[in-house]
């Protein structure tokens, strides 16, 4: 599985309140959430994001609340992968559970600028910055997590792989 797209670049401690503000949490419809994705940190994001694009950020991405609506909004907005120097733990877990690929790689986060075209190979963990020609190696997910992500998350993974 691979991802390829343009990077949207953010800094440290992007919290779940700016990813999907609480005022929109009165719904659990993914498309309604996605329409407000990143609204309080970057109102242009949802107008500009194209399917396959990536979010790249510095440390502690997704800190704050446990709202799964945050990775769900990002995934539904068309984002193919989030690369960050580090992730907050609940966001990390939620992303895997709903099948949003995320990679921890401080070097890549540092070496990717806004609008760079980036390609990621999830099976090897190799991140290529097509725009600059630089390459980094992130720790690839173990096979069962890769399978969980490609099965669209925990529930389908448990149903098809564990409870079958």
């Amino acid at each position: 599985m691979n991802a390829r797209g343009k990077a949207f670049r953010y800094g440290d401690n992007v919290d779940t309140d700016v990813i999907i503000p609480a005022r929109y949490l009165n719904t659990s419809v993914a498309a309604e959430l996605a329409a407000h994705c990143m609204e309080d940190i970057d109102p242009q994001f949802i107008k500009q994001v194209k399917p396959g694009d990536l979010i790249v950020a510095d440390k502690n991405f997704g800190c704050g609340s446990s709202r799964e609506h945050a990775p769900l909004a990002i995934k539904t907005a068309g984002v193919s992968c989030v690369i960050a120097a580090s992730f907050a733990r609940i966001f990390y877990r939620n992303s895997i559970n709903i099948g949003l690929p995320i990679l921890e790689c401080p070097e890549a986060a540092k070496g990717i600028s806004s609008q760079d075209v980036v390609e990621v190979d999830f099976s090897t963990g190799v991140i290529n910055n097509i725009t600059t020609g630089k390459q980094w190696q992130a720790e690839p997910f173990p096979a069962f997590i890769q399978k969980m992500i490609s099965s669209n998350g925990l529930v389908d993974y448990l149903r098809t792989e564990v409870l079958k």
């Binding site: 919290d15 446990s66 877990r93």
Partner: protein, 422 residues
Amino acid sequence: MSMTMSQKILAKHAKMGVVRPGQLVMADLDLVLGNDITAPVAIKEFARFKVDKVFDKSKVVLVPDHFTPNKDIKAAEQCKRMREFASDYQIDNYFEVGRMGIEHALLPEQGLVNAGDLIIGADSHTCTYGALGAFSTGTGSTDMAAAMATGQLWFKVPQALRFNLTGSLGAWVSGKDLILHIIGLIGVDGALYKSMEFTGDGVASLSIDDRFTVCNMAIEAGAKNGIFPVDDVAKAYLASHCKREPVIYEPDADAEYEQTYEIDLASIRPTVAFPHLPENAKTIDEVGDIAIDQVVIGSCTNGRLSDLRIAAHILKGRTIAKGVRLIVFPATQQIYLEAMEEGLLKIFVEAGAVVSTPTCGPCLGGHMGILAAKERAVSTTNRNFVGRMGHVESEVYLASPAVAAASALAGKIANPELLEDN
């Protein structure tokens, strides 16, 4: 092999003799919690498992507390979905409006939390119950769904940071000041993926409510959980609330901590976290002149009876500053009733405050106290992110109930120590 408190609880629930940091374990859960924001998503995922019951209807807790009393039609629909699920699956612990409370104040009060429990909740502040010696942590909705279906969840065994407490807190200094100080010290990702374990002679001097506040905000340092030892204070609370016998885990003498922080409680000053991160902690002496528009006293962090008593003590016989709105929200119906019987609510209303029904509303910018652009609030809640309580250009300053009450009187952030006739 030596283990921390948190590691021992995980080992026990994973039916293993020993667990090591970094190890992935599958563990049995004692309690699974959801609210009106997270449970509807979990219910949708749960349906996909195609099971006809939850793993144990006495171990699932559903609390409509975030956007309740229903703030709009969409919120009402979410609550309705949760209510119908609770009815269909005969969930014992569904707390309707009128009997509910803010979940993390409610669960211990209702005796649902015991020392030694392994608890997950689809709410990040589920870490609150570490005050009673439980391993409790926040997860998302899909984890909640899997937990409701199977009664189990996988965990990565956390490393630990130790906070060794000595001495005791000064007058007007509380657990809130302590945890804001600690987050200021280690940062909002200072305990990322880790346990925060509190030890030392100073623990005995902290009330159970102080400990709830400290553990509540462990997540604001990125922690997986926060946990206190089960001493006489915790045992007394459990004996008067929980019907089960406490299961007490103590850390091994040679338990591994990645780092130990020595904290003299007497040195902690009233502390305020400036916008827009809980780590932006300043002592009250460093604050300067910050005019405010709103004060919020309540939440899962500081909406307990002792919090209301401190605020009432400061506000009694006084009126809040012109131009300031003070919103007090007791965390549970029980606390509301006790505050009413003690005359605290009268003191608040006479001072010029509004007293709200229990709700998470203003804390997360849901309802009941949203801020406009450029407005500033002092709040006893737990987060001050951009837009947390309303407009992206509003500001939230996190503080204790004492600082919040003193600030409501002064119209600016104020030091409770400097009030006359305290």
